[in-house]
């Protein structure tokens, strides 16, 4: 018998082992076991992939204008693949969109998203509710059973200086002993409308941009990687609403790496280089009133349902 070649043997045994690991992992998950979390090595391996470079390349590719005859077939394939509802789009004619990036930023007809007047809090985006509830201690659940640290997610708070060191991070955020901290996670799938709106009447006082990884935020990955939302690039808007502290955070992902704010043209996301663990603050409290919606000394006032920003390809 010829001696077995090492490479095919390695590939077969390696893929067999990975297949077994995968089966064991998801089998454990299916029968209600605790979620299988990625090991630090697996996370480091995933983060070592050049997802940011991939994302920017993907964005450049989708910024290239398509010839008119190619637009309908390309966008129709995207519509069919991701279940896009073009009847709701402000412009239904597919030839109108010069490239896929522009198609991805499509606007909707105003009448198709009425803002609920009975609720003090409305959805900021189209998508799927991944998780919601009360924040216990200072850990937030990204999906059932998988948590991340509130402090890592929001970063240090200015009030940290003025209260006793024994206060928990959660206590720092609360302005009244009669209130609690709540959270909700909305996942936007590739076919969803990707602009986000103000979920209530509030004033944005601070924008904190955390450059970071651009791993997928697909629900399966959110179940697998703890602290995913603290590792990915994100923009945290924080301020006050009628009941105290309020924040809206847009978290980027591999194919949707860029985040834009309509009232803050200075924001630049998914830049080629950044320092790990760093963040960049911009206070709107001292902003002059020339900015749209700025309330002068009080920050940027947003009305419930008002368009705030958008995710872009790349």
């Amino acid at each position: 018998l010829p001696s077995p070649r090492p490479l095919p043997l390695l590939v077969v045994t390696g893929s067999g082992y990975l297949g077994y690991q995968y089966y064991k992992r998801w089998g454990q998950q299916d029968n209600g076991g605790p979620p299988y979390l990625a090991t630090p090595t697996e996370v480091a391996l995933y983060r070592s992939f050049p997802t940011r470079l991939l994302s920017r390349t993907w964005g450049r590719l989708n910024g290239l204008d398509l010839p008119t005859w190619l637009r309908k077939p390309i966008y129709s394939l995207y519509i069919w693949t991701f279940g896009v509802n073009m009847q709701e789009a402000a412009v239904e004619d597919l030839h109108h969109y010069k490239n896929l990036g522009e198609f991805f930023r499509r606007r909707l007809k105003p009448a198709v998203r009425p803002v609920c007047s009975a609720s003090c809090l409305t959805s900021p985006a189209d998508g799927k509710i991944l998780h919601f509830g009360r924040v216990k201690n200072s850990e937030v659940e990204q999906v059932k059973g998988v948590t991340y640290s509130l402090e890592n997610f929001l970063g240090p708070q200015m009030r940290q200086i003025s209260v006793s060191p024994s206060s928990s991070f959660r206590d720092l955020l609360l302005t009244s002993p009669d209130s609690d901290l709540f959270h909700i996670v909305v996942y936007l799938a590739p076919g969803d409308y990707h602009c986000f709106h103000s979920p209530t009447d509030w004033k944005v006082e601070l924008r904190r941009h955390f450059p970071g990884s651009l791993m997928s935020v697909n629900p399966g990955v959110a179940r697998w990687i703890k602290e995913l939302f603290c590792l990915n690039e994100r923009v945290v808007l924080s301020g006050q609403w009628q009941h105290g502290f309020f924040s809206l955070t847009a978290v980027g992902a591999t194919n949707v790496g860029s985040i834009r704010l309509y009232f803050d043209q200075e924001l630049q996301t998914n830049s080629p280089c950044y320092r790990k663990g760093s963040f960049l603050d911009r206070s709107y409290v001292t902003m002059s009133s020339q900015v749209k919606g700025a309330a002068g000394e009080g920050g940027v006032a947003l009305q419930k349902g008002e368009p705030v920003g958008e995710f872009n390809l790349g």
Binding site: A118, L121, D180, V186, F246
Partner: protein
């Protein structure tokens, strides 16, 4: 991509949602 809302509200605030549900811009999320 993902949007995360973190906010302070009175203890009797309640969500009218269930996990995995589809939601659209402007739809009510909860009430006091």
């Amino acid at each position: 991509s993902t949007i995360v809302l973190l906010f302070e509200a009175p203890k009797d605030f309640s969500f009218n949602l269930h996990p995995g549900q589809r939601i659209r811009v402007g739809e009510g999320l909860g009430s006091l």
